[in-house]
Symmetry: C2
Subunit: 309 residues, 2 copies
């Protein structure tokens, strides 16, 4: 399949355009987008690399889906609704038509689920690994996007869903928490938020460092995914260690004031959203993160997944 043929297929597949799309995918080197009436946009990019984030044997539709969803998860954590995405796809030579189309179909399916219009991209080929990079643009549900910074001493730290063991399968189909953050923002101001992509411990440290604060985390409060418990006997790690270090949970970690947390906790069960919210600790003026369990306090290192070059 040639670049032109793939582009023609994509232009047909994406012919619907989308919200505020004036010139979309395939029609030009640039997409033209209408921003009238918007005050702020948020932009993020995430890359998946064969051999690192997915295996050559993974279904290409699922790989595309994961690429789209992990970028979308950044928008959700910023309290933004999705608007537009552009895709940079570098295909390992020899993978053929069906693979290229399947990877794009996976991205497009993820995009459509969350009303993101894929408005452009670039396709190239490489001798070795496939890489998929999705840039997403969104607009805040509220006045402005949320940040990692902004957590204040006394705030409650809360996570959505359950953590750990994503490699058992959940990592391929992250669920961006748009409904949850949109609902939260109607209930109370969120001081700081991010999505847990590199493990609770490392991402917690990022939120705390950006905010210039510390935290005490209750080890027993961390909500454990069934997969974290299931992997523990084979891995030799505790389920909590999986939750702290595995990454690719794509759950939200956010900080709200203690009084707002009480309000949110009371309202949440009536919101019609099944995703659990769990308070896991408290923001402190003293920096660093301390993991508290019955009768002991220990420093929590900023360990998690980091790329090394």
């Amino acid at each position: 399949m040639s670049e032109n043929a793939l582009h023609s297929w994509l232009a047909r597949r994406l012919a619907g355009g989308g919200e505020r799309v004036l010139v979309g995918a395939g029609a030009d080197d640039c997409a033209h987008l209408d921003v009238r009436g918007l005050t702020q946009i948020a932009v993020s990019v995430d890359t998946l690399v064969e051999g690192t984030h997915f295996r050559a044997t993974d279904a290409p539709f699922a790989v595309g889906g994961k690429a789209g969803l992990s970028s979308l998860s950044d928008l959700a954590a910023s309290g933004c609704r999705p608007l537009w995405g552009v895709v940079a796809l570098t295909l390992r030579r020899g993978l053929g038509d069906a693979y290229a189309q399947e990877i794009m179909a996976g991205i497009i399916a993820a995009a459509e689920t969350y009303h993101l219009a894929v408005v452009g991209g670039d396709t190239t080929s490489a001798a070795s690994a496939t890489t998929v990079s999705v840039t997403v643009i969104g607009a805040p549900f509220g006045e402005r996007p949320l940040c990692r910074r902004g957590a204040q001493a006394g705030d409650i730290l809360v996570v959505t869903g359950e953590l750990g063991g994503s490699l058992a399968g959940r990592h391929l189909c992250p669920v961006p928490r748009f409904a949850e953050i949109k609902q939260l923002l109607t209930l109370a101001p969120v001081h700081a938020c991010l999505d847990i992509s590199d493990g609770l411990a490392l991402d917690l440290h990022r939120l705390l460092a950006a905010s210039g604060v510390g935290a005490e985390i209750d080890e027993n409060a961390i909500p454990l995914a069934a997969a974290a418990r299931a992997l523990a006997p084979q891995s030799g790690k505790t389920p909590v260690a999986h939750a702290l270090g595995d990454g690719e949970d794509f759950e939200l970690l956010f900080a709200v004031s203690a009084s707002d947390w009480e309000k949110i906790a009371r309202a949440w069960e009536h919101c019609g959203i099944a995703t659990r919210l769990t308070p896991i600790g408290r923001v402190t003026a003293e920096k660093g993160a301390r993991l508290i369990t019955v009768g002991s306090v220990k420093e929590l290192a900023a360990a998690g997944y980091e790329h090394r070059f």
Copy 2:
């Protein structure tokens, strides 16, 4: 060097922020950008792959520069001024600190030259080839961005600069034609425009197809780069064949009405812009592209650089 260390270096390097940047590089998963008062934006992405667009032995600063400049060239061809860029960098493992920083320094230098603020990115590692993908966002100099489509029968087709032989060196340092397109737009409406990245023949066909028209090109009018003449004796191709097929010229090809072309040609020498404008042919209602030379007319095939998977 770890992902976090590279990010800290980048955050320091990019601490200046930029126009309309509320939350910039390194501070968050998303950049937050002010779009108040803008009506349209244009978005484009371009990827460079080691082994395809650059060699492992090329200086990483130059590779980063080319990545930034080739994306910027798409904005110039759309008649847009640069606003923001995000970078997806996948580094071949083992390249080390200096290489990663040099590639980013090259991107940032290119960005700063054209007032593009690098506001975010994602860095990953791969076992094999390095890939650099730069997404750029701009806003139109005029009312709306320019497109490939819009050329009309009777229009004059014009190119900036000289074509062919970019592989002799020019391909590593493209010059996005911002000053030229901005000046052109003050002189007359531009009906259609693109940058010649895959060779005049292929990109001309793209412009004609998007516009639903054809063209007659005067073979002797095509402005030949010195490198196209220099390569010809070794390559066995004619200089014109280099100009038609080499690609990576990053010159503009645009269509304006015949009367506007006269106006532009008269005004251009007083504009203070050294870049030459050359009329190379005429848009026709009859589709296809015909290459006209003294005493003969031949079909011009849409040949140029295409990635094959």
